[in-house]
Symmetry: C2
């Protein structure tokens, strides 16, 4: 029987644990605080930041919202500089993508590494590659956490990652090269994608194409992680043909309800870690 | 017939080209300058730094040797700080490994990204992973350059990298994830190494074991890059059984005389690039 990797239930369990840790930290007089920086007026970004703030509130983390409706790159960098220097702020997250004209690289580079709880700055990603301690991007942590909660050890497995973004595929591959695991990386448009997918014990799909991975592309007994979010109207579809693939896989994430619900929990966990460190 | 990828001849050709570029730059009044920082008294490190200085001299790059016989971490960081601020210094290379007690990570982190011609700081490696412009480690550049000089396009190939160091395997994999190529990464001790090796169109071996890769582990027609340096007395052996594998491969690097001779040339090329940029 296939195991459905339930991200919603897992996120609830994680959030419960975070709430207890926040409580303990507050007992020491520290209120874990995450600065959420939103630039411009994109509807989706606004909604996502609001959701992050709400979830912070649920576990007792203070979300400090900085909404720069109209700002220059310089003003944005100045804000990040102030947040870097503010000891009451433990983590900084800048909602991407930034509006046109902004330099995303320079922006994430400006975040102090010990507050880079989104894990997306070059210095943080470089440490991840080197196997040095750092915050891992939420998309990476969500996948590893989900597997572990279902007793699936990420080590001693052959992984394949189809689709290589800077926020999931590439840093996940980098993490795996520092573990007792092997990993094959291919881009979303690779003509041999099906072949690589079929070799994998753990298959991560992030190709932004509805149902791109079908049952015959999956090794029997494999674990399949679907990172897809393909909208058709209000309905969202994964990159994996769930109905077909669940007959072949040993475990699979649904979409929605797989990796997605864990993303904010992982961000909050990083912010809490940053606060815990600062309180030692 | 197998093609022997001759690193010595390739390095000579590259050095010729670098000499011409240095000449041109000097015509504009800029002397490209590479600071070589050596700490302590390790015989091998001293010899290697001297060799780097000599090769710089051969193409007209000024090698500025800083030998800290006995120094503290603070003194080392202060030196790097001065070199960062010195406009006549275009590149900085700190010879690793550092003596016991030194913090290598903090040391490479201190090098300004625009002078990090060794490409080993977290910020540089993170940019490499993200596909942003940066200096690539010499070990990575050497492999790509050697293939290109023999007309072997690194793209549209299936790569395997056996053995994942911070200076070759991991950054090479990161580079490939930003190219039209696929790559399988496994550690040197992976029990499935033979299987992964056999799948590869381009196989990079860096496992620190004499002749660990034999003919039956290589796909017929594959390109094989041997990064091994296993000394027995004064004789050096690769990680690949050259005599056996050359009967199967379409191209192969010898050891010695493969990737090795290109390493210093690639470092110098990075330093020259840094100088060229600073002169614009």
């Amino acid at each position: 029987m296939v195991v459905i990797l339930d991200g919603k239930a897992t996120a609830s369990a994680v959030m419960e644990e975070l709430r207890a840790r926040v409580e303990e930290l507050k007992g020491k007089g520290v209120t874990p605080t995450l600065a959420l920086v939103l630039v411009g007026d994109d509807k989706y970004s606004r909604r996502y930041v609001r959701m992050k703030a709400r979830r912070c509130g649920k576990v007792g983390v203070e979300a400090q919202l900085h909404h720069l409706q109209e700002a220059t790159q310089e003003e944005l960098l100045a804000l990040i500089g102030r947040l870097n220097g503010d000891p009451s702020v433990h983590g900084i997250m800048v909602q991407l993508p930034l509006p046109e004209g902004f330099d995303e690289l320079a922006t994430v580079e400006a975040i102090s590494p010990d507050k880079d709880v989104d894990g997306l700055s070059p210095a943080t990603l470089g440490k991840l590659l080197m196997g040095e301690g750092c915050f891992h991007p939420a998309g990476v942590e969500a996948i590893i956490e989900l597997l572990r909660r279902y007793g699936i050890d990420p080590e001693h497995k052959r992984w394949a990652i189809a689709g290589l973004s800077n926020i999931v595929g590439k840093p996940l591959a980098a993490l795996l090269t520092n573990m007792e695991a092997s990993v094959t990386c291919c881009r979303a448009s690779d003509p041999e994608l099906a072949e690589y997918a079929r070799e994998a014990d753990v298959l991560v799909v992030d190709v932004a194409r509805k149902w791109a991975v079908t049952a015959e592309m999956v090794k029997p007994g494999a674990v399949v992680v679907d990172n897809g979010n393909n909208y058709e109207g209000k309905k969202v579809y994964g990159d994996v043909d769930f109905e077909g693939v669940k007959e072949v896989a040993s475990a699979i994430t649904p979409v929605p309800g797989g990796v997605g619900p864990l993303l904010i929990a992982m961000l909050i966990r990083n912010a809490l870690k940053a606060a815990e460190r600062s309180s030692v």
